[in-house]
């Protein structure tokens, strides 16, 4: 797919999408746009409303307010047409345990109007793609979780969807399995040009594979953008934090750091200095240290890592919603 096509073709769009369960607002006026060929990660803790959002996108749950559109079709009213082009991989996907993997795929294919050679060919191609050829003729009741997940991806691809929605695809899979899965997801977007929306609370995996991410807390999307954009959004918000370790580690080093323009505070954490400054001082600090004969062993901008971004956003959200937090805890307990 050409790069020019990739930009500015909104595939998934929600406008003020809202869903309430009694008192609790699961999704609160969500505005979300996902472009074609993009891998978008919906990140948030349990009970943040990620699954509810995906269900509304598939027309499986009716929104209370606002609307969700895929390819310009209303997901609630036109759900059949939407579901023809949208594949959904639910979290903890299940198969008919008395049927083999191949039979399960055949059933899905037939439900999507495939038959004959076209059906069989597609099953074979997809089984190969997810590396499930050997287990294809075993009953799915004997499958491990990772195998079910891989078969789930083949199952989603049976209808050749333009949009794939995955709910917690990495849950309960071993690291090697996750690596393969992420590679496959990336491949779906880059080679096939499919749009992918995946929700997760496991940040590290998502970070590697997503083009853009939205951070979702208490039904609200509190930040959205690429990894760098998210980092900048935090950076602007007050202080920038830096981790530094240099050789030789002496009193003079501390003086130099303190003397830097913009440094607010400095603390020592085992062999690392944690430096808080009002703006990014990496460049000037590195230059000065090397001029004065120090060797920089470690220099890292804290906050560019998703984990920290995530934690920071949650801290912020926690301050705003201190009273609501109890509510969400009881929800996730349910």
């Amino acid at each position: 797919m050409a790069v020019s096509e990739k930009v500015n073709v909104p595939v998934i769009r929600t406008e003020a999408l809202t869903k309430k369960y009694g008192e609790l607002t699961a999704v609160d006026h969500l505005n979300l746009t996902v472009q074609r060929g993009e891998v978008f990660g919906l990140l948030g803790p349990n009970g943040a409303g990620k699954t509810t959002t995906t269900l509304m996108l598939l027309g499986l749950t009716e929104p209370d307010e606002g609307k969700a559109m895929i390819h310009g079709l209303d997901c609630t009213r036109d759900s059949i047409r939407v579901k023809k082009t949208v594949g959904y991989l639910p979290d903890n996907v299940g198969f008919y345990s008395a049927m083999t993997g191949r039979e399960n795929l055949r059933f899905t294919g037939r439900l999507n109007g495939l038959s004959g050679d076209e059906l069989e060919n597609r099953i074979d191609t997809l089984l190969k793609r997810v590396d499930m050829e050997e287990a294809a003729d075993k009953k799915t009741g004997t499958y491990s979780r990772g195998m079910r997940q891989r078969l789930g991806i083949a199952d989603v691809l049976m209808k050749d969807p333009q949009v794939v929605i995955m709910d917690e695809p990495t849950l309960g899979i071993d690291p090697e399995g996750i690596r393969e899965l992420m590679w496959l997801i990336r491949d779906l977007a880059e080679q096939d040009g499919r749009t992918i929306l995946l929700s997760s609370h496991q940040l590290h995996q998502v970070q590697r594979v997503c083009d853009r991410m939205g951070i979702f807390v208490h039904g609200k999307m509190i930040a959205c953008g690429t990894l760098e954009e998210l980092g900048t959004q935090i950076g602007h918000d007050g202080v920038s934090t830096l981790e530094l370790s240099a050789y030789p580690d002496n009193i003079r080093l501390q003086d130099i750091i303190r003397g830097q323009n913009g440094v607010i505070d400095m603390e020592r954490n085992s062999d690392l200095y944690i430096i808080h400054s009002s703006f990014d001082i990496r460049r000037s600090l590195a230059k000065e240290l090397s001029d004065k004969g120090y060797t920089i062993m470690h220099l890292r901008q804290a906050g560019s890592d998703l984990d920290e971004i995530y934690r920071k956003y949650f801290e912020k959200a926690g301050e705003q919603n201190g009273a609501e937090k109890k509510l969400s805890d009881s929800e996730s307990a349910l």
Binding site: T51, L55, L58, L60, T61, I80, R81, K83, K84, V86, G87, Y88, P90, D91, N92, V93, G94, F95, Y96, S97, A98, F107, T108, R110, L111, N112, G113, G152, D155, K159, D167
Partner: protein, 323 residues
């Protein structure tokens, strides 16, 4: 176009459900159950028929149909076995129809396919009804065939027609229990709860309704004493009890099939002596018998459809999340 596609999807679902029934371990259970009903019923018929024909010469007509209604000593007839045990076939088929898909996590995968959600539940119901029909008809025809060979009775056209209608009744009766169990499976999250609920309903219909109706009728129209009032009450008491009993599909089925299989049953309600005067003592034709049980047929079919409609609506309104 859309209509045709919809029909195709329903067919795919129907085929899958039917294949599931046939390949599943449950089919073994059905076969054993229906086999027991058939063998026991037939055994009762053959041993009871001999004693009965030896005793009297008047009931020589419609002997063939008696294969289904005659009981011997303590062994119940085919018909009463069907009334009592038939519901289990329906219950076993449907009690985990929806909730097992939910717990296996296949339901949300299924509803994310481009199909109308009602096709899922309709497909399950039709597949169950189809399997029921096949089993009931093969069991009924088996008895007829073995009866034909072993007793040498040759059925008349009217008898064959009655048998056919009777077997349709059985299918609808079991269909009601299938619909009821599908209803339980949509309402209950766990298969075990839903099975228990179905069995409770079965117990209620087959035992408690008759007890309750007796108590209620007794309370409303007491028949103790020798005055005129209690004589009037006697009829009212009987009618009241009868009508209350008819709420139970078990009773409806029993009454209807007794009428169908025995052409000499001329009325299903209480009959006064004055109504009987001038009546010819003959048997009813098929059409007349059918007319007599038409309300029963309608009521049974309505009960089945109501149970299915409630499960349909509750299923359509349910939110389907992952397990």
């Amino acid at each position: 176009m859309e209509q045709k596609r919809n029909y195709q999807i329903l067919r795919v679902l129907f085929e899958k459900e039917t294949a599931d029934f046939i390949n599943g371990k449950r089919m073994l259970l059905f076969t054993i159950l229906i086999g027991l009903i058939t063998v026991t019923g037939f055994y009762a018929a053959v041993s009871g028929l001999h004693a009965e024909t030896a005793g009297s010469e008047t009931s020589a007509g419609f002997l063939f149909l008696r294969l289904f209604t005659v009981s011997a000593n303590s062994i119940p007839s085919y018909n009463s076995l069907m009334a009592l045990m038939g519901p289990f076939i329906g219950i076993f088929m449907g009690f985990d129809a929806i909730n097992s898909e939910r717990t296996e996590g296949t339901l949300n995968r299924l509803v994310s396919q481009p199909l109308y959600r009602d096709n899922i539940i309709i497909g399950k119901f039709l597949a169950g009804l189809f399997i029921t029909a096949v089993m009931v008809f093969s069991s009924g025809i088996l008895i007829a065939a073995v009866g034909l060979i072993s007793t040498g009775l040759i059925p008349t056209g009217a008898e064959i027609a009655r048998l056919f209608i009777y077997l349709c009744f059985c299918v609808i009766y079991i269909g009601f229990w299938l619909a009821a169990s599908i209803l339980c499976s949509t309402l209950c999250r766990h298969a075990a709860t839903s099975a228990l609920a179905c069995i409770a309903l079965w117990l209620f219909c087959s035992i408690f309704v008759s007890l309750l109706s007796g108590i209620i009728a007794e309370a409303l129209y007491p028949v103790d004493g020798n005055d005129l009032q209690s004589m009037i009450n006697e009829v009212k008491n009987y009618s009241c009890q009868l009508n209350l009993n008819r709420f139970s599909p078990y009773y409806l089925f029993g009454e209807a099939t007794a009428t169908l299989l025995n052409p000499s049953v001329r009325s299903v309600n209480a009959v006064t002596v004055s109504q009987l005067s001038g009546a010819l003592s003959s048997t009813l034709s098929v059409g007349q018998s059918l007319l007599l049980v038409w309300p029963h047929l309608t009521a049974l079919a309505a009960l089945m459809l109501i149970a299915f409609a409630v499960s349909y609506v509750s299923f359509m309104r349910q939110e389907i999340r992952s397990r």
